[in-house]
């Protein structure tokens, strides 16, 4: 397990180095002054700019510039947003939790819907229900998310009026910012309207989370179906059946647990996919998350925000990958022998 951990750690460090190198070079590739792109100080006076320039070692060679850039990042200084002139690290700390919340809820929905459906399809392999589920999965996978999001708003918000179309919670509720995860903040707050706020926030998250969940859910259907078919064909299932175990005993005691292990690896991979979908969805549903912020930064040519935002987001996704690798390793001892990163 120690070798496994060290392997993952070194992989993490080297990937991060490559990512910072990329974001460092972005400052040179974007139009405008490199120091201003690094720091986002667009309104600085000449003296202030000299100070900033010194702190980034702009007068020295490129390697020491990169070193200075790295030390800024390690100290949590990602520069100022060119658009709002507030520190990017603050903005990200406020916005990232909203994205995490939305993605986690979406992931949960995708797993709760996708995996059981996949199992049902596998158990009824080559029967009508299998074909129906597979075709639905194919259909769901092919629907573009921006179209689905708009359609969901049109049907559920405008025509039926069931669910709200924009934002995280009705603006009437004042929830103090503690963790940034809305549900936790609501529970921590002492508002007299706590439970109302909670149900309001739940109503707000349903539409965007379901829209995000659709594509990953279809992937989970196919993954879990394949995993289950493989498990059901294994000899230990045949042995269990020969011992006289009934159908539900075989499925619930043996097949599901073994099939789930095969799926858990892919959860991490799907999370990256899911965050990408979430970025588009956040724009459609005016969700105050990092995806919407990043897309707005692109519109506003806020180069500092683009480069730091990309760095933080890719770092975040990478950490999720490593975490799922660990969970997989913890659940499946066979994987621990696999020393090489994947």
């Amino acid at each position: 397990m120690l070798t496994f951990t060290l392997r993952r750690l070194s992989l993490f460090i080297f990937t991060m180095l490559v990512l910072t190198l990329l974001s460092f070079s972005l400052s040179f590739l974007f139009p405008g002054d490199t120091v201003i792109n690094h720091s986002g100080q667009i309104n600085a006076t000449a003296e202030e700019l000299t100070l900033v320039s010194n702190s980034y070692h702009m007068d020295k060679d490129i390697f020491s510039q990169y070193g200075a850039y790295l030390s800024h990042i390690i100290n949590g200084d990602l520069g100022l947003s060119m658009a709002s002139q507030s520190p990017i690290s603050n903005e990200i700390m406020e916005l990232l939790p909203a994205t995490i919340e939305l993605s986690l809820v979406a992931l949960l929905i995708a797993m709760l819907v996708g995996i059981p459906l996949g199992f049902i399809a596998a158990i009824n392999h080559n029967k009508t229900s299998d074909n129906v589920i597979l075709s639905l999965a194919m259909l769901g996978y092919s629907i573009p998310v921006f179209w689905l999001g708009l359609l969901a708003i049109l049907v559920f918000s405008i025509t039926l009026g069931w669910l709200p179309s924009a934002g995280q919670i009705s603006l009437l509720f004042e929830i103090e910012f503690v963790t940034g995860i809305q549900f936790i903040d609501i529970l921590l707050s002492d508002s007299p309207y706590k439970w109302q706020a909670f149900s309001n926030a739940s109503a707000h998250i349903i539409l965007p989370a379901c829209v995000i969940a659709l594509a990953p859910a279809t992937i989970f259907i196919r993954l879990s179906r394949a995993a289950m078919i493989e498990v059901l064909a294994a000899s230990y299932i045949r042995a269990a059946r020969a011992k006289g175990l009934n159908f539900s005993q075989i499925i619930f005691r043996h097949a599901i647990r073994n099939a789930l292990i095969k799926i858990i690896r892919h959860v991490g991979l799907q999370f990256a996919n899911l965050v990408t979908i979430a970025m588009v969805t956040e724009v459609i549903f005016s969700w105050p998350g990092i995806g919407r912020w990043l897309i707005e930064s692109v519109y506003q040519r806020d180069y500092t925000a683009i480069q730091s935002g990309l760095l933080v987001l890719s770092c975040f996704i990478f950490i999720i990958h490593i975490l799922t690798d660990f969970i997989y390793a913890a659940l499946n001892p066979l994987a621990r022998g696999n020393n090489h990163g994947s």
Binding site: S157, G161, G167, S170, L171, L172, Q196, S199
Partner: protein, 555 residues
């Protein structure tokens, strides 16, 4: 407990959270609050500093009061913070008697120790007038409205007679002076708050964390996201009916429409899809004819428009009704002159230009342009109430002018570049407009066409007529309405004859709201007011023993 019972427990709890908790609390919270979908973020909360409608919508009538207000159908002046006023016979000394026991806002950042008195009036206006005033340069030192009415040239001095009496001493008689004091821009600030900020060294906060006497106080502002107001419970007039007012800042028109249709906002500014909104029984579309003018102007310093005949010919060749039907979707009144017909100074005898391409063609021949010519039209790039789509309008004009042999090139730039280049006079003709700040007719005549304004002028036609300017000056010097009316009628006749601009339309300002929202919001001039707005519940509120209310949370 096995997993099945755990799962069913979770489902029950979730269901309870989503549905079961409607105990009347939030019902009443949303009933006591209004969400307004606004079109942009204000620059500050001080309307003195800006002529932007977004800023005055979010501040003037919510956070502040002015000395006087407009009231009634004909917009006569009525008392507000000044309970009475007196003008001397020569019109040069104006005394205001202030209302007593007017409370300023008490917020988390300021607790007033006294009520409104003469010091606050002096503080407010000296900030604008006196270059040496400690707050004059705070937030840039630009007071565009006061600059445009030449306030500092007009006011000689402001005297404090006693605690509740102030006197303005003017250098000359100006009949629009009182009207200017009743605009959205002449709001009264707190002198005590100013002193507190000076002491703590946070002078710039005076315009960002505002203190006023208005019906609402600022609770929270997040740029680009929301503004939260609470009711001012110690308001000197009747308290506002709603306890909380939230501005949901939604710059995209489609998102304002979606939120309105999905009931996420109660009121929406500048809605699109008027037909769709009027169709629905639960929504109401409303409009006020605001005092504005959209016009087509000619650069009278550049050929061929230095020739009066060419200006007249082009004006005759434009089918105004088609422009109103297409660009304004028939939601505007055709303009006969620059002054809207609702103004008291409007002269009914002003002749209206009738669309007549044949006469236009013959006028062109007389002017020596029988073969036609090529010209450019500068179309403004932004949407305004007075011109919702200038580029489309330019294309229609292009088609009209083609019929009399004039080739048109349409020019447009990004808004600030557009205005800068216009002021340099690079254009031949342009589409622009004007929204009045107050009902005094002078606001139209001198802002759009007088030549006295020099480089800071709003006059992009560069037309300059001595007789016209003299008429305007005379009209300001007299207080007799009938005399003023005569002068303005003559001014209108000069414009109709000289044709420096072709007036196109007086448009309406639109707003949409849920039909459960009662009370007037839009006013004829400038800002919006939520003072008299209330919400009628669709479901009658259930009895509740909840005693907390927003009142206790203020501070």
């Amino acid at each position: 407990m096995n997993y099945k019972s755990a799962l069913s427990l979770v489902i029950v709890v979730l269901a309870a959270m989503l549905t079961g908790c409607n105990d009347g609390n939030t019902l009443s919270l949303s009933e006591r609050s209004i969400i307004y979908c606004s079109e942009g973020s204000p620059d500050s909360f001080n309307p003195q500093l800006s002529t932007s409608g977004t800023t005055s919508d979010a501040s003037s009538k919510l956070l502040y009061n002015s000395l006087l207000v407009y009231k009634g159908k004909n917009n006569s002046l009525a008392p507000s913070l000044a309970k009475d006023w007196h003008v001397t016979r020569d019109g040069k000394k104006i005394t205001f008697y202030l209302r007593q026991n007017v409370n300023f806002h008490q917020t988390s950042y300021f607790t007033p120790t006294r009520t409104l008195n003469a010091d606050d009036i002096l503080f407010t206006f000296n900030r604008v007038l006196d270059n040496e005033h400690e707050y004059h340069q705070v937030s840039g030192g630009h007071y565009p409205f006061f600059h445009s009415v030449k306030f500092s040239d007009l006011v000689e001095n402001i005297e404090k007679i006693n605690e509740y009496t102030v006197r303005f001493i003017l250098k000359r008689n100006d009949s629009s002076f009182l009207a200017n004091l009743a605009t959205d821009y002449a709001v009264i600030l707190s002198a005590e708050y100013g002193q507190q900020l000076t002491k703590s060294g946070n002078q710039h906060e005076i315009d960002i964390l505002p203190i006023g006497t208005g019906p609402f106080l600022l609770k929270d502002y997040r740029v680009g996201s929301l503004i939260r107001f609470y009711r001012h419970n110690a308001y000197w007039q009747e308290k506002a009916k709603i306890e909380q007012l939230v501005y949901d800042i939604s710059p995209r028109e489609t998102s304002r429409l979606t939120k309105l249709l999905a009931k996420e906002c109660d009121v929406s500014s500048y809605p699109i899809a008027h037909g769709k909104i009027s169709e629905r029984a639960d929504l109401r579309l409303e409009s006020v004819t605001s005092l504005n003018i959209g016009y087509f102007g000619f650069n009278t310093k550049k050929p061929p428009f230095d020739n009066k005949l060419v200006r007249q010919a082009v004006s005759l060749a434009i089918n105004k009704q088609a422009l109103i039907d297409t660009v304004y979707e028939s939601q505007a009144v055709s303009a006969k002159s620059i002054l809207p017909e609702t103004s008291w100074a409007y002269n009914d005898e002003t002749p209206e230009l009738i669309y007549n391409p044949i006469q236009a063609k013959s006028l062109l021949e007389v002017a020596g342009y029988a073969q036609g010519f090529t010209m450019d039209i500068w179309a403004m790039p932004v949407q305004r109430a007075y011109n919702p789509n200038a580029v489309t309008m330019a294309k229609l004009i292009q088609a009209d002018l083609k019929k009399i042999g004039i080739k048109v090139k349409i020019v447009t730039y990004e808004w600030s570049t557009f205005l800068r280049r216009l002021s340099l006079g690079e254009h031949q003709s342009f589409l622009l407009g004007w929204s009045a700040d107050h009902p005094d007719p002078d606001n139209f005549f001198s802002q759009i066409l007088s030549c006295s304004k020099g480089s800071q002028s709003n006059n992009r036609t560069f037309w300059c007529n001595k007789e016209y300017d003299e008429l305007l000056q005379k009209a300001l010097e007299t207080t007799k309405i009938s005399e003023r009316k005569e002068y303005y009628a003559k001014a209108m006749a000069i414009i109709s004859d000289e044709m420096p601009i072709l007036p196109i339309a007086h448009s309406k300002r639109f707003q949409a709201r849920g039909s459960n929202v009662k009370g007037d919001i839009m006013e004829d001039f400038g800002g919006i007011s939520f003072h008299h707005v209330s919400k009628v519940s669709i479901n009658p509120p259930k009895l509740t023993n909840q005693t907390e209310s927003l009142d206790t949370e203020v501070n």
